[in-house]
């Protein structure tokens, strides 16, 4: 993941800045060498912590390795991917892909909209603002496992406070099994994820909002431009680049979603994500080769989504 996210910010190759003052000039060459020297340690670290595990996983995915006996693995080529029993022919896998994409799409959209709303509220000068700004971060600061457990208890069908509240308010006539009911499990997971990550979005968007020059708003005020128009024509376009980056960060997270689902609804196939599927194959079924293949596919799907996103963004920026 480190690879994809770092390419967002450091898109230009090292030394690109020096290119304008002549390929062949010695000062340009020195600069380029310096640039490489400076990024070299980072490249080495990346190779060690991201490149090596990825390469190993790729290697395992081409074998029939078992967790119990890794040494006696055999090379099987692409059988784990496209063989009779390969990942790509497993409907369970495609179910997980569908779940994950749906989860990422809906949760990131909801978080963006809600985060924008919260950020706009927090951006209004008020004495409460500092306090609220700290308070809003609480869901984000709690470890996911803890908040997932907390929500599991709150949503418990017999002892949960939420069922109790809904029952006493007369909104439902029997307790709902939020995490067990296949129809409710997916929305429940979504809800908790949105609760947890909206603050992150809100803070990033708030930072973007504060970068919008205040005098633009005053100019619009003197000119009598209606507020909604100012929002859609001035605020939104100016914060959009930051929102896009925040969205892709969140999308990367959402496509790898694991802990929340593992804690809350680990048995439900309605909420099985790609990461859950990979873990199940590797640990529960001990199929390291097969699991590695699905892990590689997971990375490829994420890379594909990010690639599409960046291309879309670039086209959008150039179209303007």
């Amino acid at each position: 993941m480190v690879n994809e996210s770092s390419s967002l910010t450091a898109g230009a190759p090292p030394g690109a800045a020096g290119r304008s003052d002549g390929e062949s000039s010695s000062i340009g060459r020195t600069r380029r060498r310096q640039a490489w020297l400076l990024v070299l340690p980072m490249l080495a670290v990346l190779a060690a912590i991201a490149g090596w595990p990825l390469a190993r996983t790729l290697w395992f995915s081409l074998s029939d390795a078992q967790l119990s006996d890794m040494a006696s693995r055999q090379f099987v080529g692409l059988a784990n991917y496209i063989g009779e029993t390969g990942v790509l022919r497993d409907p369970e896998w495609w179910n997980a892909v569908g779940n994950t994409l749906q989860f990422a799409l809906v949760s990131v959209s909801l978080e963006t909209v809600l985060g924008l709303g919260v950020a706009l509220l927090l951006n209004h000068p008020s004495r409460l603002r500092t306090l609220l700004r700290a308070a809003v971060l609480v869901p984000w600061a709690i470890p996911t496992v803890v908040s997932a457990k907390m929500w599991t208890w709150m949503l418990h069908d017999q002892f949960g406070v939420i069922n109790a509240l809904l029952l006493s308010a007369g909104l439902i006539d029997h307790p709902l099994a939020f995490t067990a009911d296949p129809d409710l499990a997916f929305p429940t997971i979504l809800l908790v994820d949105v609760w947890k990550t909206t603050p992150f979005m809100a803070l990033l968007i708030l930072a973007a909002l504060q970068m919008v020059p205040g005098d633009c708003y005053e100019a619009a005020r003197v000119d009598g431009v209606p507020r909604w128009r100012v929002f859609f024509r001035v605020t939104l376009p100016l914060i959009l680049p930051a929102v896009m980056v925040a969205m892709i960060f969140r999308a990367l997270d959402a496509l790898r979603v694991f802990d929340l689902i593992y804690v809350m609804t680990s048995n439900s196939s309605a909420t099985k994500s790609m990461s859950i599927y990979v873990r199940e194959q590797m640990i529960d079924f001990q199929q390291v080769g097969y699991g590695s293949a699905s892990a590689i596919l997971l990375v490829m799907i994420i890379a594909l989504v990010v690639g599409c996103w960046l291309t879309f963004n670039r086209v959008r920026m150039e179209g303007k």
């Binding site: 005098d215 005053e218 100019a219 431009v225 024509r233 001035v234």
Partner: protein
């Protein structure tokens, strides 16, 4: 019809008074300049007129209508901000059109207004650029264009030239003067801290002074035409602010006060000033003032030692150590080849002298040098 009237206007930020007792009328079509040292509340006053800030007390009347509680958009004013406040993501065209789009004007009308403004400001070739790709002067013209297309009754400028280099400043100053002539009947209020801009552009100058937390001081030091402020400063603050280099001040004691001639002992010299003697009596402490350009150098009964010279080509400024005041006396002279340390005779004509009472108020001058046939208001 579009007169602006401010009565007893006060502004405080928290407990700190920033503007006090502002009473002011800007006539329709008038070019009014607010000038004063940095931090004296010029921008604040402009923003109060625009409606971006609220006055703490007092009335704002535009075109006969009290607008204290009227939204900025309904005051029929357009403002050019010091920072230009252009929308960074819009083209020059969109920047100018944006303030019109919600007015439900026909598209052709918007197009025509923008094109016409662009033409008069030489922006036509830049209409598709974004502000980031413009120079400071071009951005500034876009900001003015954005105000013009709205056809307001009142233009408000907040130090529009302060971010430009010297030559562009002169050019744009001329452009703004031309703009004001073309848009007759449009009042302009123009904030600056540059007295050359104020003197060259203004029909009326409003000189503001900082309150510095004091109470009982009015913000407006003087209102008048440029020449009135130059020749008949109402008080020592105005006298010291207008004119560059600043007026020389000589502390003294009244020796005799006759109706049209006050004699003051400054240092070991007796100087007479052609000012109204009302309120003066022998023995009272006063301050005499004389502008560097009104000291007659090269002849006279007074004498000073040249301690510093500034050559400006056309003329020079001599700094003379004299017995009149502790600070050197600044003298403007056409002769530049004066050796340092030499003795320079000079005289201070009675009609060139200003006299300020102990509280800073100026005594009325009865005669002014021949170059100024200007009658006090």
């Amino acid at each position: 019809m579009c007169q602006i009237q401010l009565t007893q206007l006060q502004k405080r930020f928290g407990a700190t008074p920033v503007l006090a007792d502002v009473n002011l009328t800007v006539e329709e079509g008038e070019f009014c300049v607010f000038i004063g040292p940095s931090g004296c509340g010029k921008s604040t006053l402009l923003r109060i007129i625009a409606g971006l800030d609220d006055a703490s007390a007092g009335d704002i009347v535009i075109g006969g209508r009290r607008v204290n509680d009227v939204a900025p958009a309904r005051r029929d004013v357009a403002m050019v901000f010091q920072s230009y406040a252009l929308y960074p993501h819009m083209t020059v065209y969109e920047n100018m059109a944006f303030g019109l789009r919600h007015l439900k004007l026909p598209a052709a009308e918007i197009e025509q207004r923008v094109r016409r403004a662009a033409e008069s400001l030489h922006l036509t070739a830049l209409l598709d650029r974004k502000p980031g790709a413009l120079s400071g002067g071009q951005r500034q013209r876009v900001a003015i264009g954005r105000a013009i297309v709205r056809k307001p009754k009142v233009f408000l400028f907040d130090e529009p030239l302060s971010n430009l280099d010297a030559s562009l400043r002169v050019k744009t100053r001329v452009e703004i003067a031309r703009l004001h002539r073309e848009l007759n009947n449009t009042s302009m209020i123009y904030v600056t801290h540059d007295q050359v801009e104020a003197m060259t552009l203004a029909d009326k100058i409003v000189l503001l002074r900082p309150l510095e937390g004091k109470s009982g001081v009015a913000s407006v030091a003087q209102v008048g035409s440029p020449l009135e402020l130059y020749h008949h400063p109402a008080n020592q603050f105005v006298a010291g602010f207008i004119g560059s280099p600043a007026m020389n001040f000589l502390p003294g004691v009244v020796a005799s006060a006759e109706t049209a001639r006050v004699t003051v002992r400054a240092g070991d010299a007796l100087l007479s000033a052609a000012v109204d003697a009302a309120g003066l009596a022998a023995g009272g402490a006063v301050t005499l003032g004389v502008r560097p350009e009104h000291v007659v150098a090269g002849q006279g009964e007074l004498v000073g030692r040249v301690v510093h010279i500034e050559h400006l080509g056309e003329h020079s400024f001599l700094y003379l150590d004299t017995a009149l005041s502790p600070q050197p006396l600044v003298v403007k002279t056409a002769q530049g080849d004066v050796p340092l340390g030499s003795r320079m005779p000079f005289s201070l004509p009675a009609e060139s002298l200003h006299l300020f009472h102990a509280d800073g108020a100026a005594a009325r001058r009865l005669r002014v040098p021949a170059d100024a046939a200007c009658v006090p208001a």
